[in-house]
Symmetry: C2
Amino acid sequence: MKSIRILFFLFLTLPAFSQSADESAIKQIFDLALSNGKSYEMLHDLTINIGPRLSGSPGAAAAVEWSRHVMEQHGFDSVWLQPVMVPHWVRGQKEVGSIISKKIGTVSVNVCALGGSIGTGPSGIATGVVEVKSFDELKMLGAKGVQGKIVFFNRPMDPTKIDAFAAYGGAVDQRGGGAAQAVKYGAVAVLVRSMGLNQEEYPHTGGMRYAPDGNKIPALAISTKHADVLSKLLKEEKDLQFYLENHSVMLEDAPSFNVIGEIKGSEFPEEIILVGGHLDSWDLAQGAHDDGAGCVQAIEVLRLFNAMGIKPKHTIRAVMFMNEENGLRGGLKYAELAEKNKEKHIVAIESDRGGFTPRGFTMTAPKAVRDKIKNWRSLLEPYGLTDFDQEGGGADIGPLQRQGVPVMEFLPDSQRYFDYHHTREDTIDKVSKRELELGAASMAALVYLIDKYGLK
Amino acid sequence: MKSIRILFFLFLTLPAFSQSADESAIKQIFDLALSNGKSYEMLHDLTINIGPRLSGSPGAAAAVEWSRHVMEQHGFDSVWLQPVMVPHWVRGQKEVGSIISKKIGTVSVNVCALGGSIGTGPSGIATGVVEVKSFDELKMLGAKGVQGKIVFFNRPMDPTKIDAFAAYGGAVDQRGGGAAQAVKYGAVAVLVRSMGLNQEEYPHTGGMRYAPDGNKIPALAISTKHADVLSKLLKEEKDLQFYLENHSVMLEDAPSFNVIGEIKGSEFPEEIILVGGHLDSWDLAQGAHDDGAGCVQAIEVLRLFNAMGIKPKHTIRAVMFMNEENGLRGGLKYAELAEKNKEKHIVAIESDRGGFTPRGFTMTAPKAVRDKIKNWRSLLEPYGLTDFDQEGGGADIGPLQRQGVPVMEFLPDSQRYFDYHHTREDTIDKVSKRELELGAASMAALVYLIDKYGLK
């Protein structure tokens, strides 16, 4: 009777075994990440002891050595550097921005050069300002309205978008392309409303691009608070003057590196599961959320596997990409070499939306792959991972995606990201240790499932 | 042909009309809260211009007047005060805590009296320390191990609980009941490890209770960082001494008020939908998350209804409860009068888990009510509200729940709450404007649906 009972019990429970084993493994991953995780300690070290690390800067070089050292210390099977030439832009001394009003005198405002901008020269630029909300409006004004002036792009991020990245996406054309558009009509500089949702004192930097065949004019961001001040004053005094001065310069391309560490797969060593973030950050702060968080989370995935004694079937590779912020050279170089060396990536997962509390993963992949991943939802939902329906990967893995690799991005809560993004405020004190650890564990849990079941 | 097409179109779309109208109304609520919300402005005013507001304090009295004024200014149909006598505990001058070691000398540590604690007297207490992790361990030590000593309760919150409130729930017995237990065995004071998940410099206060028939001994919290220091030193030097000094005193009960505002229902004025938070806060900080956030969110629900011109069918009532932190007298008084006056509450919804990004709502209600609310899930999920499966209401509405009223609590993300809870760090700069606004809109959307469809 007893043995029959046991058999019956086995029969009943066997089909559920795998789910239960996975539940247990994922719980162990989270338990370890939350009770003895290293992601916060790593991020503290990177942000406090290295800090800003724009491509080509001494900080970036130090971060490369730091990453190699950390991954070696964690005992990954191999750690190496992948050389890549990167743009080398330097901000120079602090920018100056002033509204010069006939009515109220000179009002100092907070501005910063956008990454890639040329400088004004030491004597600065003083001229009138014309405010526009869109490229269409700029075009309607034409040379007649714009010639010799500073164009002030002042369309705010839309606060009614629930996903803050959607609000960013709806405004960032002004930052990236404003100068290239305004110069067509004879503008001498552009001021762009900072990409933030709050009234803030501090400006947000970020990448901008000149047209390959166009002239170059200085491009600066103005804080949201001061953008509102300027806009208000312009309504009262259309011909007020603005003085701006910045000393940015683009130097020769500089040598740098992607930093790569991996644990070799036991069954399919040639099949790679990539987790990554970008090591470079803007020069105004520590790059804690953007993207120190993503880097340490990627390293933590491999460290958790090692610490738990999980021998992955596939090769798990952590990649610290260089130069996401102003060139994407690291991502391009990585994909170029992957193709050349016939490397097979079964998936590439980036974390580049900050170290906030987990909400899910985005994915751009064939339907069969997406369906397989969505089938794991019940295993991941207990950890707050409920959103698997958005498209997307990360910028650095875009070049891999174009080679047909399925890509995913860790999707944390978006609400606070643009309070800090590309500003002096992106510092370690804005990172919650638990939120960071939950993100690392979320990525490790996903990698665990992909490694165990594959994506075919 | 054309008219047939239109009829066919109407026929197809009519059944979906209600869903679509609700979608649209909820989108309008969120749009308004995010583009022209007042919750953050209100919270800024309350925290900066009033600040701490422990029951019986001048801050609490000012907060009562503030709430009345704000709700009157927003044009609610009626605003009134509900008198209630509250405990009046005063911390007195700053506490002193020192480890006195023969090996390393005196080490100053950060402690604070728990709310309700008696004082040590001006000469303080200096004696040995015995560390325990649980009441069972205390009992095993008995009078022999404890007599004349300070009992140091040092069981940490469990970091592997994904819900930080579960981690809190697993440790807070030490704070609430530690003194009452330790005094049975002759302890002269208790030190309780702060209720926080991080290594922090600052202690967390919070309520504690003596047994009605027991002696009273001083009860203080020690910062998590210093709890670890003390524990480590105790392992090396079992007979080290600890000096503590606090000057707390319980005064006579003081008069105070719940503050209530409402919009009268057009069809069922006698049926009340209650939204609330608690107006009192601990004395160490501004009470931004606990529970200024809940108060302004409740007020914002009614303000949004007014601003959008929504005339509710049921009466919508915002209640600022007094004395949640150390007595619950406001909640008890409110329920007592509701019963006496035969008021009918169809639901009571509290916000008292901080102004963080929305995740869902808890509920304790009959199954039919829960099912009805869960049926609205597809309308709320686009706003990050995905968790409707947890039991619970808020402390202040517990007395209503015991009268049979369905209760709910707004459920924001829990990860950062205990970084600030009951500490000097619970300040307005820890509140994200957008997260706060999303919470207010979430509550307004829920109230909109309950008002429109009822809960029967």
